[in-house]
């Protein structure tokens, strides 16, 4: 299908489903009756339309349920309204596995029942609120009614396995390394992993709830802390949504600076993770070298932009900091040096037989499974999913440059490793291009209070992949609804698949090769 897939698809739908179309601030909304919710998914799936995100909203006496779909870089938001008295509609998770956890999240947070959902269990809810309370309903107070000590979530019904020699390994929530908390339940025979089940939600901080009522600047700060390693990505997605809703166009210089920030974030994370991947197979040389490069890069962030991780550099309407011409030339020198370092290091890694032994064929994710789960970013691109928002649904400043998107089809750890290395090179080129395009100008557009009820979807390519942020404004410039969809929400389920038939001791490197965000998933 081409970019006009929506027209063709609407024709196809017309015999079954009536669609009411509307346009709201760069976002196309298709409203349908709730009874067609699943049927729509079936037809969309037949046309290879990708399921992107799902979220709901509580407005007066009804719920709006939304699902975002994409094909050929064109996004639509599918919407239906259901009454609070009978909060149910057919599930899309039977058609799109990607929708599974998202619908369970909506069920836990709103009490909306998805009929026919293949998994009846709770997901985000542990024991911090009771079964019949729903935090994102308007009558639920932000402070809730917590107990003094929230009990552990003891009775979650994990999948069981039986048989001679089959055993279980429970891991977490507190892990052995300096990483985020989550629980993994393995079933294994000997060293072989038969099954892995993830139990996340431990770092659920109520982000969606505490976003309500915030002013744009305060929402940007919160968005920058959805996942600390993706502070630029989430902040940009949220600001893009808010700016679209308010009808603001940011200055060219601001968009170029945002591009530089986002690519610097991508490079910093790739450098760190390439080292960490090598460390997980006991190749400490690479770990030390790449953490060295990462530290140098972060010090660059601090000296050019004033923050090592680039937090709060993006603000509604533009960016908070400018760069001088002399800083630009320093950044260019830094890029030359980094290339020289990588050209020495990477051949050493490439020729290393122990890395080859551990990375190749391990943690295999087939293109079919990657497609079925809507896997994003470098995980998807290492398994043949040729998609990148920067190229396929380009937004400023990527509209001004050529974005190279490395794709491989092998789907193993080595593939993800090399895709990330190639992305570093592509990002270095982009930073150079953006610096060349920089011309004097404003770095911030004046904010305009958006009309009450204006809404928009901000979509950017974070370093983990596509990030979507839904924003609705209430009155007085206040946020009524914020839903950030981190790429991890779609990538985590792929981990359960790619570890199968690997050995338990390879789990850390399999996990690292995907590197999902716990915080971005749990919200």
């Amino acid at each position: 299908m081409n970019a006009c897939w929506t027209i063709e698809f609407l024709n196809r739908l017309s015999t079954d489903i009536t669609v009411a179309q509307s346009e709201a601030a760069s976002t196309t909304i298709w409203q349908i009756e709730s009874r067609h919710w699943q049927r729509f998914a079936e037809l969309a799936s037949q046309c290879q339309v990708r399921w992107v995100a799902g979220w709901a909203e509580h407005l007066d006496a009804r719920f709006l349920v939304n699902a975002c779909f994409e094909n050929a870089g064109v996004y639509i938001v599918l919407r239906t309204a259901i009454s609070c008295a009978t909060p149910e509609l057919p599930s899309q998770a039977t058609v799109y596995p990607a929708a599974n956890r998202s619908e369970r999240h909506t069920q836990d947070m709103f009490g909306i029942h998805f009929i026919g959902h293949p998994d009846k269990r709770r997901w985000t809810r542990h024991q911090a609120w009771d079964k019949h309370s729903y935090p994102l309903r308007k009558d639920f107070p932000v402070h809730g009614k917590p107990q003094d000590i929230t009990p552990p979530d003891m009775d979650y019904p994990f999948i069981k396995s039986h048989g001679a020699g089959v055993y279980e390994i429970p891991v977490g929530p507190v892990h052995a390394g300096i990483i985020e908390p989550g629980h993994f339940r393995f079933q294994a025979v000997g060293e072989l992993i038969l099954n892995l089940e993830e139990r996340l939600g431990y770092v659920h901080k109520g982000i969606e709830k505490i976003a309500e009522g915030r002013a744009p600047e305060a929402l940007a700060r919160l968005a920058g802390r959805v996942s600390g390693d993706t502070t630029v990505g989430h902040c940009w997605a949220a600001c893009r949504a808010m700016e679209q809703a308010a009808g603001i166009e940011i200055p060219v210089r601001a968009s170029l600076l945002r591009g530089i920030l986002a690519e610097r974030e991508r490079i910093a994370n790739h450098l760190g993770d390439i080292g960490a991947l090598c460390n997980d197979v006991a190749f400490v040389f690479a770990q030390m070298q790449f953490t060295r490069l990462r530290e140098g890069w972060l010090r660059g962030n601090a000296s050019y932009f004033g923050h090592r991780l680039l937090m709060d550099r993006i603000i509604p309407g533009g960016v908070a900091c400018d760069v001088s011409d002399s800083a630009c030339s320093l950044i260019k020198q830094e890029i030359v040096q980094l290339r020289a370092e990588l050209s020495e290091l990477v051949p050493a890694l490439d020729l290393n037989s122990s890395l080859e032994d551990r990375f190749y064929t391990a943690g295999l994710l087939s293109t079919e499974i990657a497609a079925a789960f809507g896997t994003l970013g470098y995980v998807g691109r290492a398994s043949g999913q040729n998609f990148d928002v920067r190229r396929d649904a380009a937004y400023p400043p990527y509209t001004q440059v050529r974005v190279r998107v490395p794709v491989e089809a092998q789907g193993d750890i080595a593939s993800r490793f090399w895709v990330r290395y190639k992305e570093i090179n592509a990002s270095l080129h982009l930073i150079e291009d953006f610096i060349d395009l920089l011309a004097a100008g404003d770095i911030r557009a004046e904010w305009q209070t958006p009309q009450a009820d204006s809404e928009s979807l901000g979509i950017v390519e974070g370093w983990r992949g596509e990030i979507t942020a839904y924003i609705r404004f209430g009155s007085d410039n206040k946020i009524a609804r914020y839903y950030p969809r981190d790429p991890s929400i779609l990538n985590w389920p792929a981990l359960e698949k790619l570890v199968l038939n690997n050995i338990v001791p390879d789990f850390p490197v399999c996990n690292k090769s995907l590197n999902g965000s716990y915080s971005g998933n749990d919200l």
């Binding site: 542990h126 009990p151 300096i178 901080k205 109520g206 802390r225 060295r292 090592r308 020495e344």
Partner: protein, 169 residues
């Protein structure tokens, strides 16, 4: 293999050296920390890091303490895999309610004498998240805290200064 050795030799030791500390804050800090650890802890303290609900920003900077620039192990500070091996719990994040029991159990599993360091604005005062149906806010709302290291996130140098504060305390 030769490539590895040649790269290692070419990189050399980039860890800022201990002998010329005059202008280098990191070195002065490190030496002070080392002196006190030697005196009070027979040369080593073991830290267990616990993410109790952080956005992962603090973890990235705690990781950096182990890179060759800071190389915090040379001062006798090392990170361990279990609270049972730890002298110090380094706790990040507002404590999410879903992590409250896990944090309490980690605290109980750490042998006495033990110290708790709350790292980052969220751990110190609740930060951007505060107290809500899902968050207990500051670490001190859940377990006793000995030292706080503010920052969003604190830089590796700030972390080292904070650890020094703990040892002095």
């Amino acid at each position: 293999m030769l490539r590895l050795f040649s790269k290692i030799l070419k990189t050399g030791v980039i860890t800022e050296r201990c002998k010329t500390p005059k202008n280098d804050e990191l070195e002065q800090l490190g030496i002070e920390i080392k002196r006190r650890i030697d005196k009070k802890f027979s040369g080593s303290i073991a830290i267990r890091e616990v993410d109790a609900g952080s956005c992962n920003g603090c973890e990235l900077e705690i990781h950096a303490l182990n890179n060759p620039y800071y190389d915090i192990e040379r001062f006798g500070i090392h990170f361990v895999a279990s609270p049972r091996h730890a002298d110090v719990l380094l706790v990040t994040g507002p404590v999410s309610r879903h992590m409250q029991t896990a944090l309490l159990r980690t605290y109980e599993a750490t042998p006495n004498p033990k110290w708790v360091v709350a790292v980052g604005d969220c751990a110190v005062c609740g930060g951007e998240f505060g107290v809500s149906y899902a968050s207990c806010g500051a670490v001190s709302n859940v377990i006793p805290v000995d030292v706080t290291i503010p920052g969003c996130p604190p830089t590796p140098l700030a972390l080292m200064k904070g650890l020094l504060g703990l040892i002095k305390a």
